[in-house]
């Protein structure tokens, strides 16, 4: 194994070494082969995971890397979703609708960033929370946005691929997600990503070395919202139907939970957090279905709790798992991954 680097570019290239390249290629191949041997149901789960990955990447950029909290990201996702639907209905091709959704949402991100520049901690939390709330309330009142009833999302034309619609959509979402991961990775390695982290660690020193705090905080808000907008666009497509209640405060909290669970400030963390939490949420939704354990739970509920409320166990467990992660692995799943890697590298010592 070669440990010494001979060229500074080795710190910039996408794959550290041949081994990493190999495993990435295997993963990619697997992802692309998947639609041919699993049921559509599993594809939709992966779609949901992928969409959450995109939001998490953006949110982590803002929270984990720039150190600004946001409790309103569901609002950005909503803006992205609604922009896409409006544009698709107007006959705009999907690729433009997607780009426009990202850009429009990014603009909203900058607009929210402006009053938030001086705010910290709970003050920023309230400002972003207010934004998320405002977005869904306003959408609920707008008739051309379908009001509270919501809107159907037009199908995009993917016939040229020669595949089934669900399969083509899966490829669209996966490709965009992979691009988002690479874009985030390059951004974070660059002068701009470094500036974000500098602001997080010491805004005073950051300004003293020439970083324009206003500009870079707005960049961070804008880029973070851009990702949420793209994710919203994709989410609308695969749901096929959107309404304001989808984008509630709970969704914003869910995104925050993803990045904390995965690991703040880490791309791997964003990806792992999104995958694991999405899976967990789906599993816990029908907790009674789990063999043996589900029966026992139902019996217990009938005796001590209520049988009708048994689905609420999922909230209880999610909360409990969240606390356990923060208590025992504050760097999240990414921290766990790092420790496992180090353990195997050193084994058997």
């Amino acid at each position: 194994m070669r440990n010494l680097k001979t060229d500074y570019f080795e710190d910039l290239q996408l794959f550290k070494d041949g081994l990493q390249l190999f495993w990435s290629a295997v993963l990619l191949l697997l992802l692309f082969a998947l639609p041919f041997f699993v049921k559509t149901y599993y594809l939709t789960i992966i779609n949901l995971m992928a969409v959450n990955v995109v939001v998490a990447l953006g949110l982590n950029l803002l929270v984990g890397n720039t150190g600004q909290i946001s409790l309103g990201h569901a609002g950005f996702v909503a803006i992205g979703a609604y922009t896409t639907v409006l544009l698709l209905k107007a006959g705009v091709p999907f690729i433009f609708a997607l780009t426009a959704s990202g850009l429009v949402t990014g603009l909203f991100g900058v607009l929210l960033g402006i009053p938030s520049l001086k705010l910290e901690g709970p003050y920023l939390a309230i400002a972003t929370l207010a934004f998320g709330l405002a977005v869904t309330t306003v959408i609920g009142r707008m008739d051309f946005l379908g009001g509270r009833m919501g809107m159907n999302v037009p199908k995009i034309s993917l016939g040229w691929t020669g595949l089934k619609y669900d399969q083509s959509l899966y490829y669209v979402i996966i490709i965009i997600t992979i691009l988002a991961v690479i874009a985030t990775r390059n951004l974070l390695k660059s002068r701009i990503g470094r500036a974000f982290q500098a602001i997080r660690d010491s805004d005073i020193a950051a300004s003293a070395i020439g970083i324009n705090l206003t500009k870079y905080k707005l960049y961070s808000f804008g880029i973070s919202a851009f990702f949420a907008g793209i994710a919203g666009s994709l989410w609308a497509l695969y749901l096929g139907f959107i309404n304001p209640t989808l984008f509630s405060f709970i969704l914003s909290i869910n995104f925050l939970v993803i990045i904390v669970l995965g690991g703040l400030g880490s791309i791997t963390g964003s990806v792992m957090g999104a995958i694991v939490l999405t899976y967990l949420n789906l599993q816990l939704e029908d907790v009674v279905e789990i063999p043996i354990l589900g029966d026992a739970l139902l019996r217990f509920s009938e005796l001590f709790m209520t049988a009708t409320g048994v689905s609420n166990v999922s909230w209880f467990l999610t909360g409990f798992i969240l606390i356990l992660v923060v208590l025992f692995e504050p760097l999240g799943l990414y921290g766990l991954w790092l420790r496992t890697k180090i353990y195997w590298k050193r084994w058997p010592f």
Binding site: I126, A130, L256, G309, F316, T318, G319, V326
Partner: protein, 291 residues
């Protein structure tokens, strides 16, 4: 009409003020906005409901038990979870409170289902107890105002006049120096969470008759309470109370004269606007780090 509006604003505002105060007490001590505050109040309110309805206890006994229960709940949050955090950064602690919130929410839904219930307090929300040309006051309105004032006075005396209050202030200023001077900072922190939880529970019991008793009953009031605290300045105890009353006023006046649908949004918009000019709320000094 304006007179009546102002009175109802004060009533709603005093509930916001109680929740804001509850959040502020713990925020001052730990720099953590406690997102579980609302659910802690909700569970405590359910406790009061069970004592009153299922066990048929008299009101005062039920209240006493509820207060003790709320206090213990606050202690538990601090003792079981917050204190154990390996990396107690504000964000990590916030996530712990969110986790606790989800646990309590899930527990309540599990235990009591999603049926809507009615809590029976000895003061009715419809019976008018006082009326003149300008406004009318129901029993519940009056009780709300009285209880809010009593809680505020008790908290004020507790912090300003007791040894415990002095220790709480010392821990807020410098936790390590407090430890070195023989204050058990952990115990003080736990007690602070306990007190905050009791204040929140009072708010919960007072809103329960207006809303219906269900697991999500505190979501909206808590957001308003949090917003009120931010408006006043999270670390200023009198500030958050004024923030609560102001928020009640803005919301009600806007709701009546312009649009009831947008009243929450406008209330938040005004708060964001105020924060733009006063980034640490109306009554708290904006702290700039020294180098």
């Amino acid at each position: 009409m304006l007179g009546q509006l102002i009175v109802s604003s004060l009533v709603v505002g005093s509930i916001y003020a109680l929740l804001a105060l509850a959040m502020s007490i713990t925020y001052k001590a730990s720099e953590v906005p406690n997102f579980a505050q609302g659910e802690m109040a909700m569970i405590s309110t359910f406790m009061a409901f069970v004592m009153l309805s299922s066990y048929g206890l008299p009101f005062y006994a039920a209240m006493l038990i509820t207060v003790v229960f709320a206090f213990v709940l606050g202690l538990l949050l601090e003792f079981l979870f917050l204190r154990r955090a390996k990396m107690p950064t504000p964000l990590n602690l916030i996530v712990i409170t969110i986790g606790f919130q989800l646990m309590l929410y899930g527990f309540a839904g599990w235990k009591w289902g999603s049926d809507q219930r009615q809590i029976n307090l000895p003061f009715s929300e419809s019976k008018v107890i006082f009326q003149n040309d300008i406004f009318a006051l129901t029993e519940l309105n009056l009780a709300t105002l009285i209880i809010a004032v009593v809680v505020l006075v008790v908290i004020y005396l507790l912090i300003q006049r007791t040894k415990l209050g002095l220790a709480m202030k010392a821990c807020q200023q410098n936790i390590n120096a407090s430890r070195m001077n023989g204050i058990s900072a952990n115990r003080i922190m736990a007690i602070t969470f306990g007190i905050s939880s009791v204040v929140g529970a009072m708010a919960g019991i007072l809103v329960a008759p207006i809303l219906t008793l269900d697991p999500s009953m505190m979501w909206d009031p808590l957001l308003k309470g949090f917003a009120a605290a931010v408006l006043g300045g999270m670390k200023s105890l009198h500030g958050v109370v004024i923030g609560g009353l102001l928020l009640g006023l803005v919301e009600n006046l806007f709701g009546f004269y312009i649009s009831i649908e947008f009243k929450s949004v406008v209330a938040f918009a005004i708060i964001v606007l105020i924060l733009y000019f006063k980034p640490s709320g109306l009554f708290d000094k904006h702290y700039v780090r020294k180098v």
